[in-house]
């Protein structure tokens, strides 16, 4: 049986994709089978692992053109697969508006894959539109990456509202897996202030593991690798491995 976790925050550039790739790779390194589902039309999770999908993407799986298992691609990491996205997904939000059960398209697409993986992570676009609603409806829980910056605090209220709406109307079991502080820079006063605010606001929902700002994390995608394979001893790799262990511990 698998745990499906959406990684979402409508604020842009907070580390959703970096978390999807590096958390998944760390859990796969601990020999648990993991699937990344990319539902961002930017498809950074796919390309960040060197996967460029021409056809048979999450779009075709959600629309019903291709069975989901035919869209799954192996990464070069054992235990880690990807259900990629590409630019076709851009039209989905408008296309699905008048379709029945439009919020359940992703849940139905993932259903046949659930038994093959212990963890399924869904990388979301920077918005609270229909694609993100699909991810929240399909998931057991949500990881909320929060960049240690001022603007990152602003949208959290709206994100919590949306999660509560989905819990009330579409997915009653939806929980918060945790709030993840990202791009923490120990030298900056602002970073420490944001951490304090987030801990005040979310209490024990904040992961103990904090992801520090680390250039190896932002270099790794240009080599189509998770940071664990790009520089295993870097702060970035160690931070994401600590997060993986914390999540596995919380779920056992």
């Amino acid at each position: 049986m698998s745990k499906i976790i959406a990684i979402t925050n409508q604020k842009g550039g907070v580390g959703k994709t970096s978390t999807a790739i590096n958390l998944s790779a760390s859990i796969a390194a601990l020999e648990k089978k993991v699937l990344i589902v990319d539902i961002d039309p930017q498809s950074n999770s796919s390309s960040g692992l060197g996967i460029i999908a021409e056809k048979d993407t999450i779009y075709e799986a959600m629309v019903g053109i291709t069975p989901p298992e035919n869209c799954v691609v192996n990464s070069y990491l054992p235990f880690l697969d990807v259900l990629p996205a590409n630019i076709n997904l851009v039209g989905a939000e408008v296309e699905f508006v008048d379709v029945q059960a439009r919020e359940f398209k992703l849940k139905n697409a993932i259903e046949p894959l659930k038994d093959k993986y212990e963890y399924i992570f869904v990388d979301c676009p920077p918005s609270l539109g229909l694609l993100t609603l699909n991810a929240l409806t399909a998931s057991d829980s949500v990881i909320i990456p929060v960049q240690c910056e001022y603007f990152a605090l602003e949208g959290l209220g709206q994100l919590l509202n949306t999660i509560n709406q989905v819990k009330k109307n579409l997915n009653p079991d939806l929980m918060i897996e945790g709030v993840l502080l990202t791009m923490f820079d120990t030298r900056l006063r602002l970073s420490h202030q944001v951490v304090e605010e987030v801990k005040k606001y979310f209490g024990d929902k904040v992961f103990k593991s904090i992801i520090h700002r680390n250039v190896r994390i932002s270099e790794a995608p240009s080599h189509s690798k998770p940071v664990l394979l790009y520089d295993a001893l870097s702060k970035g790799a160690l931070d994401y491995m600590a997060l993986a262990e914390e999540i596995i511990k919380n779920n056992s």
Copy 2:
């Protein structure tokens, strides 16, 4: 007569809002009248200048509930006004889908304001949906902020496609004002690599002014100030002033 410039890139967190606020403030400091139009439901341009609008926002102006001039708010900076956004805007993308001339809503809302400002900057959300299409349709030109990071290079092709589509079908006069390199860190090899790539791809469309990574830029919004008023001698303030001068020179 005013020049209307959209600030857009669907990649999240690349510095769209920071550019909208700080470029506008720098031009206003040079005593030219400037308006910021915030069409991002996150409304970071509005709140980053301490403006929280309950009603009479860009949403009411686009829908026709309130005349646009009644939605404009003075910032505490002479020569700088804001047409704010708030969360009501989230519904606009779906609401406008079936409406006639849906891409021209913003253009029509800004029309009566054009004669009062020399520059109007439109801060866009991290997507290429209907709100951004409205901005591209209403604008004379586009500033494309590009963060000096690997993922920032990926979406540029799609953004250019969208700009060309709008130019062909909705706004034949749309031009690229320039590509702006943001969060450049002189110590990082990755930063230099991205700058090289962007210059190869865009040639002389790249602004000579580069915005360096500077913590004062990310601290300023928590004080509801542009960086020019928060720390006038910081690298961030000097970089944005240099950009303001470059844009004014290009347009005279």
